[in-house]
Amino acid sequence: MKGFGKYAIWAYSIMAFVFLLIPIAYTVAFSFNDSRRTNIIWSGFTLENWLTVCEAQGVCEAFGNSLLIGVAATILATTLGTMIAIALVRYRFRFRNATTLLIFLPMATPEVVLGAGLAAQFLQAGVPKGIGTVILAHTLFCLSFVVVTVRSRVVSLNPALEEAGRDLYASPVQVFWRITFPMLLPGIVAAALLSFALSFDDFIITNFNRGADVTFPSYIYTAAARGIPAEANVIASAVFFLAIALVLIAQLSAAARRRQLAKAA
């Protein structure tokens, strides 16, 4: 019975992984489809789409806008969020619970509400919608995720190391940049990557605040009615492989570091 349970969980999990990967495999496969107008039916293998990605109208502009928005929102959110995370763990201040609640609430708010709220505000304030308003909106929803991610890193930081720095007559600024910041860096990098991923793939909040500017997801949404060009699959697949490569490199180097530490100990 015990052996059967073991096999069952392996079989069930492998089926779940296959289920998770089916649409990814489909999207990548159709980036190689020899499609003329619409990319719905398989009509032969070609590398053509990968070589002439930018020929489909608007795909590359949309991709460029998404990159720009992602980078800007990530820088803003990571900076503001890291500062809050350090303050939350290290300092005592009034309204602490109210602050925690204010950071938690945007994560508990459905995207459609965040999007509509910001759009209503921009409408009342007379701010023209475009890439700028999308950056402001993305920074907002990335901010909370940055705080949560960096905070767990600050909590795990050993304060004795900073104390040692102070004992050796380092100024508070030196202690921060030479000890605290390098030790927080893995958390900050993880938060930045998460922010970029959230921003790059966001559709709902973007759609309420983009005006006439087009991002990669909004390009796909508009194109969905008349058929997605294979070039969109090319960009999505390229982004996918790049992200997976980054994650695998990070995982493998962390594993190698663990092995080295184990050997040293």
Binding site: W10, S13, A16, F17, F19, L20, L21, P23, I24, Y26, I40, I41, M83, A87, Y91, R92, F93, N97, T99, L101, L102, I103, F104, L105, A108, P110, E111, V112, V113, A116, G117, L118, A119, A120, Q121, L140, L143, F145, V148, V150, R153, V155, S156, P159, A190, D201, F203, I204, P217, I220, Y221, A224, A232, V239, F240, I244, V247, L248, Q251, A255
Partner: protein, 304 residues
């Protein structure tokens, strides 16, 4: 909490630094807090003001500030089927995500524990869908389920589906899409609780003549309850507000519209801003009541 899985599990330090009072805290907090007030709190106030507006008596299509609370009654009367459908679809998707996600999290967190490399690879596979466009992976299911697609072909050759009948645009396909898209949000927090579960507790259950089922029910399940709670919340919230899966261009049809579709249509197409704002606030209130019930049981710090 779910996202500590991305940052690597934090190891607790024996002696945390004492929290000090310092003006630096204010300098660190103010910019971010100011941002949240400007772009989260005031938009919510804007929504409240907008939701109470009345049509301008002079200019058609314009709205003036008023205290027109009947907007709420009107949208509830008009859109209650979509509101109930959203809650129902999101609850079903959360249930299916739990049925698929819990065994998967158990497999990665406990079964694969002797194989660290396989474990990290499995974790990468769970978050892999995040790296391919949300809209494209939903469209991929639409095409797989389409009349010309493989699933319809197999089903109709088995005689289970009359030829020409589509699987997309049904309750099944929308709930299927919601389940698929939010599974990682269910797996990650459950994994985070199971990965730190002391295996000796399971051995103890076994030594005390507990059957695998009893050990699971009395040891594993209570110890992973926090993960299940935040997983269901992280799945239910985005699923209830989603309008991609239910929209006509993706997996839905006109009779599967959810509250998100209605808000989007009223705001961006019909430009009936008060109705969209009132619906948004109703959705937000519903979610907040749910979250408050969860927080009461587990505490905000745990959810974060």
């Amino acid at each position: 909490m779910a996202f500590t899985a991305f940052a690597g599990t934090a190891t607790a330090v024996a002696e945390p630094a004492p929290r000090r009072r310092s003006p630096i805290a204010l300098l660190l907090l103010l910019p971010g807090i100011f941002y949240l007030i400007l772009f989260f709190v005031t938009p919510l106030i804007s929504l409240v003001i907008t939701s109470l507006q009345a049509p301008d008596p002079l200019i058609f299509g314009q709205y003036v500030n008023a205290f027109n609370w009947q907007n709420y009654v009107a949208v509830l009367e008009q859109y209650w089927p979509q509101a109930i459908r959203s809650a129902g679809y999101a609850a079903l998707a959360t249930l299916f995500a739990l049925l698929i996600g819990f065994p998967l999290a158990y497999f990665i967190g406990i079964t694969l524990r002797p194989f660290p490399l396989l474990q990290s690879l499995a974790l990468v596979l769970v978050i892999a869908p995040f790296f391919i466009s949300f809209l494209l992976r939903t469209l991929a299911w639409k095409q797989i389920f389409s009349v010309e697609g493989p699933v319809a072909g197999i089903l109709s050759s088995l005689g289970a589906l009359p030829p020409g009948v589509s699987i997309t645009g049904t309750t099944f396909s929308v709930v299927f899409g919601l389940t698929y898209n939010f599974i990682p949000f269910m797996v990650l927090p459950i994994y985070a609780t199971l990965v730190s579960l002391d295996l000796r507790l399971l051995e103890a259950g076994n030594d005390l003549y507990g059957s695998p089922a009893t050990t699971f029910r009395t040891v594993t399940l209570p110890l992973s309850a926090a993960g299940v709670m935040s997983g269901t919340l992280l799945t239910f919230i985005p699923a209830a507000g989603d309008y991609i899966n239910a929209s006509r261009e993706f997996l839905g049809a006109t009779d599967t519209t959810m509250i998100g579709n209605v808000i989007e249509a009223n705001f961006l197409v019909l430009q009936n801003f008060p109705a969209a704002a009132a619906l948004s606030l109703i959705l937000m209130a519903f979610i907040l009541v749910l979250v408050a019930a969860y927080v009461k049981r587990s505490g905000t710090e745990d959810l974060l």
